[in-house]
């Protein structure tokens, strides 16, 4: 069967020294895993990956998959042909018919001869292909510096032809930096935090605290939707839903009113740590940005950090809300995040929350709540959902 070919460019990985092989292997694995339904196969040639898929692979899905795979800086649909100038010319005609340039503007031929045994030089290849383009699009002019369109021809073991490439998301392949647990809420921030952290190679699973009936099942559906939207960037993700109503009620009943949010966050950290350790994750990622709300002051963060011995990563710490919203829109989570299903009921939110807790005092207060039993109970009753690298929900194997 004919296959579909994509050329993939790696970015930062190519700068890696001794570990380069590891990074590349992981990237190849991540891409293949994502597109396994079309029997993805990858061949590597000098700083390029060639992805081969079944002919019936859906272009849009492939496009989405590659543009959400960290480690890729660019990709393009490519065409392979024999190492023969006549074959190249006839393939170029075919490609330009499938991906036509516009009638107006400028173009450039970018020919590279990696295989020096090929009889024509890069310049000569460019010249004869420029004639072909001219003939097909007589209005186009040549511009070598700022062309509107570029036709790439690479003469390697085989000849590869492709037009302009798409930008990849950059970053490093997920799972090259270890595993972490994300505290996912229904808000705008945490999905963005997930993607920021995953971009540096973290493999991320998500934890959501559900307080039914104080929060609705629509809020849970919203969080599941968010998990499915970020799953492609995370190379698939698990969503752990912790039923925390009893825990929240205990906190509301026993803690000082102005400290309820703080105590809740402390118990979330503790719970996340327990789940993380069980699932072999070594860090907790949150969507907190410094001073955005009362629980995000230095003192409050310092207190909640003290509840876990795991590293707490806050990728958004220095971002403004506007920057966060911009990214949320780019990754497509914004519209879901702003649906009006609250992830925390007003009755658990104090009117005047403490902003500068005394770490030691608050620790004592927290200990007096004796949350362990509630936390254990909640983890026992926890539900797990799995979203595959294409963002589809699959039955979870736990």
């Amino acid at each position: 069967m004919e296959s579909k070919l994509y050329l993939i460019k790696e970015g930062e990985i190519s700068l890696k020294g001794g570990n380069r092989n590891l990074f590349e292997k992981r990237l190849r694995h991540n891409i293949k895993d994502k597109l396994k339904i079309w029997n993805a196969d990858i061949e590597k040639q000098k700083g390029r990956l060639y992805l081969r898929l079944d002919e019936d692979a859906d272009d849009e899905t492939v496009h989405k998959a590659l543009s959400s795979t960290f480690g890729i800086t660019g990709f393009a649909r490519a065409y392979k042909c024999d190492k023969d100038m006549d074959a190249i010319i006839s393939k170029v005609r075919e490609v330009l018919q499938a991906h036509p340039f516009s009638e107006k503007g400028s173009f450039k031929i970018d020919a590279r001869r990696e295989d020096k045994s090929f009889p024509l030089s890069s310049y000569e290849i460019s010249l004869s292909l420029a004639d072909v383009v001219h003939e097909m699009f007589p209005e186009l002019s040549v511009d070598l510096k700022h062309p509107d369109y570029t036709l790439h021809v690479e003469v390697r073991k085989d000849v590869y032809i492709y037009t302009d490439d798409e930008k990849g998301p950059g970053g490093l392949p997920v799972q090259t930096a270890g595993r972490a647990m994300l505290l996912l809420s229904g808000g705008i921030d945490s999905p963005v935090a997930a993607i920021r952290a995953a971009k540096r190679g973290l493999k991320i699973d998500c934890i959501y605290f559900h307080a039914y009936p104080y929060t609705s099942d629509l809020a849970l559906e919203k969080v599941k939707k968010l998990a499915s939207l970020i799953a492609p960037y995370l190379g698939g993700t698990r969503l752990y839903v912790v039923p925390f109503t009893d825990g929240q009620l205990r906190i509301k009943k026993l803690s000082y009113q102005d400290e309820t949010t703080l105590m809740f966050r402390a118990s979330m950290m503790q719970t996340a740590e327990k789940i993380a350790k069980e699932k072999k994750a070594s860090a907790i990622v949150t969507g907190e940005a410094l001073s955005q709300v009362a629980s995000q002051t230095l003192d409050a963060m310092s207190f909640t950090d003290s509840m876990t011995e795991l590293l707490v990563i806050r990728p958004l710490v220095g971002m403004d809300k506007e920057e966060i919203i911009k990214t949320a829109k780019e990754i497509g989570t914004y519209e879901t995040s702003i649906l009006p299903y609250e992830d925390c009921c007003v009755i658990f939110s104090p009117k005047h929350p403490v902003t500068h807790p005394d770490k030691e005092e608050s620790r004592k207060h927290y200990e007096s709540l004796e949350m362990n039993e509630e936390i254990e109970k909640a983890i026992e009753k926890m539900d797990t959902y799995y979203f595959n690298p294409l963002g589809q929900e699959e039955s979870s194997e736990g």
Binding site: Y212, P213, Y214, T215, S216, P340, E342, C344, C345, V346, I347, S349
Partner: protein, 375 residues
């Protein structure tokens, strides 16, 4: 038992309404505007139904305009204002249904002045109407029975104030009263009250959805945006939903049978609910002269949470507002009645119908007791 307490939202069709719908759909598969025998037969049925409806409501057949629902009836009245060459003033109570309030932006955009009447505890003071009336006033809209807390307006007095003022100006002022929650219940007196136009909906009285009615005292008061095919005296064009209209009329007749007895029973149930919930510490937001079919209360929990808890126990009620930290879109009606933000955010509506059974009420009260004792 249905354990359903959201009749003010919609009500299941009664067996009589269903059977009359089916019978009519089978027997009259014709367009009442057609001139063949079938069409004439359908037209006759429509005329008869209009007469029957008018007689139940003690109004004239020509005052009945069948519509697709109350919203359409409201739309006909409000959009007719746009024919005026110069924009005037409308006076609207702050506690109107969205179907009415949603016209405010359009009217303002077209240069109309919109005065909002306050309605403490749900009641509009006729004196406030009097104060707002001006020479360029074209319409006053005050609903008959409020859908959120059941407050029954003194439409007689409001009409009297308007009629008195009219003597000093050259044109008529339309007094429109959305009367969806009054139909076949307390408080409706179309002919006696002096209301000029009123909207009704069939599905709130165990009739079908997609059918409603506009009462219009004098058809010259209103000029619809379009007469379309000229049906319903050119006030509501479009082929008539004959089976729906017949079924609506049947539901209406059924609802008016033994009216007083039915209402007496509901008053007893309603008073009991109020007393018991009050004893549990819930605040009653239906005070004074209110419909026994609608009871609004505030619990210690956010509306949405409280109704979700009741739903899990098998009881359907209505929550006015969401459990939200964010600012609400628009104004909460309970808040507009002066009950304060906290009370508004924890308010829920329990609504009854003539089909509500005593056993259901017992169950509801017990379920609420369990919730309140559990927090």
């Amino acid at each position: 038992m249905l354990n359903y307490f959201d009749y003010a939202a919609t009500s299941p069709m009664s067996p009589r309404a269903i059977s009359s719908f089916v019978k009519c759909a089978e027997s009259y598969p014709f367009n009442p505007s057609s001139i063949h025998k079938g069409g004439l037969k359908a037209h006759k049925k429509l005329d008869e139904t209009r007469e029957r409806t008018a007689s139940i409501l003690r109004i004239k057949p020509e005052q009945v305009v069948f519509t697709s629902g109350a919203t359409e009836a409201i739309n006909i009245v409000f959009s007719s204002l746009l024919w005026h060459k110069t924009p005037g003033k409308v006076i609207i109570s702050r506690i109107e249904h969205d179907a009415v309030r949603s016209f405010i932006p359009l009217l303002k955009e077209k240069g109309w002045k919109v005065a909002m009447l306050k309605a403490k505890r749900g009641f509009v003071d006729p004196e406030d109407v009097k104060r707002e009336l001006t020479e360029d006033t074209r319409l006053v809209a005050v609903m008959n029975v409020n859908n959120v807390n059941g407050a029954i307006q003194d439409t007689h007095k409001i009409a009297a104030v308007i009629r008195e003022f009219e003597k000093s100006i050259k044109h008529k002022i339309i007094f429109f009263s959305d009367s969806v929650q009054a139909l076949a219940k307390t408080g409706l007196d179309l002919d006696g009250s002096g209301v000029d136009a009123a909207s009704f909906s069939a599905h709130k009285i165990s009739g079908p959805r997609g059918v409603g009615m506009l009462y219009i005292r004098n058809k010259n008061l209103i000029r619809p945006l379009s007469a379309a095919g000229g049906q319903e005296s050119a006030i509501r064009g479009g082929t008539e939903n004959l089976a729906g209209i017949v079924s609506f009329s049947e539901a209406l007749e059924e609802a008016y049978e033994n009216r007083d007895e039915k209402e007496k029973r509901i008053i007893t149930l309603s008073e009991r609910i109020k007393d018991e919930l009050s004893a549990l510490g819930l605040e009653i937001n239906s005070e004074g002269l209110t419909s026994p079919y609608i009871i609004n209360v505030s619990s210690p929990l956010p509306s949405e949470v409280f109704s979700r808890m009741l739903d899990d126990k098998g009881y359907a009620i209505s929550s006015g507002s969401a459990c939200s930290n964010n600012a609400k879109k628009g104004e909460n009606i309970i808040e507009a009645m002066g009950y304060g933000n906290r009370r508004a955010e924890s308010s829920v509506r329990i609504s009854l119908s003539d089909y509500t059974e005593e056993g259901e009420v017992d169950g509801l009260i017990n379920a609420i007791k369990e919730i309140i004792h559990g927090i």
